[in-house]
Symmetry: C2
Subunit: 152 residues, 2 copies
Amino acid sequence: MTGVSISQFRELCQRHGLAVTHQRQVIFEALTSMPGHPSPEEVFERVRKKVPAISLATVYKAIHTFLDSGIFGEVSVHHGSLRVDRNISPHHHLVCTRCKSITDIEESDVEPVQLRRSLPAGFQVHRYAVEILGVCPRCSEQSQGNPDKQHY
Amino acid sequence: MTGVSISQFRELCQRHGLAVTHQRQVIFEALTSMPGHPSPEEVFERVRKKVPAISLATVYKAIHTFLDSGIFGEVSVHHGSLRVDRNISPHHHLVCTRCKSITDIEESDVEPVQLRRSLPAGFQVHRYAVEILGVCPRCSEQSQGNPDKQHY
DNA sequence: TCGCAAAGGATAATAATTATTAAATGCTTC
DNA sequence: GAAGCATTTAATAATTATTATCCTTTGCGA
Ligand SMILES: [Mn+2]
Ligand SMILES: [Mn+2]
Ligand SMILES: [Zn+2]
Ligand SMILES: [Zn+2]
């Protein structure tokens, strides 16, 4: 029972300037009670058991609202479409969270990743990929302007 | 002029047991000549200038053929749909490339990432995200069976 | 060259996401 | 607590990304 009381949720919403709705609370509770990194579809399947009339679009909108408020995060900033990597030697990436641009960083430019404790037993590691997340020069320049203009 | 001669391409295909077709060569050349990490749509736009009659499906099929042969790579193994991360404190991920499962690794379980040289000027780093890519225990068990069964 | 498996083209189908719009609801003010 | 207005929801259409289908064409070994 990882339930969040209505008053706690109300407080959370107020802190982020969000209206408190029943749907948002149910979606929030579904998210906090699900293991791993759920997809909108998975959230929808769970939520509709409590609120059968809910719409998938409402789930998407609530999730984006939570993401925009920083209440939750997103696993991959560049999940929109397949991106081919012509560089098949191990390397890392510089990723702009604003415009989604991806730039190669040579593996030798980063110290090898060191683990402090062992991984779950039986996991076979193939490689370590470092994503350096941030804002590229071009995006930070025009940061006051329109913040969602994308240039690839 | 990063052009690849037809004989070089023919050799590459032979090495991977692929039939040599004009479309594949044009798609391959487009990929090798494009900067960054192109999407299928971008490849299609470029390729159709040379072969106007080409189909988008052919581009997708050729790209998958190249990916399956290991001639090129894919930036994100989990690009299929949005995945919410309830953990908004900085942390890392263990990713199974077989079943696409994503498991949190605490930031403190990995030594801080160290750069050996400076990044492109003006890039504002927000955080470093390490992806530990490999095969999870469950997938490596049944590795002889059906290799594309997914369990989340 | 012949024959066939493999690949391409056109297009339908599916999956993921976003847009639209009218009705319902939350929130502020009285 | 009701009124009014802005926000949110539900239903559904539209988009976008990707895959499947099906028939035609082509590459390649015999
Ligand atoms: Mn790369
Ligand atoms: Mn996570
Ligand atoms: Zn940028
Ligand atoms: Zn797995």
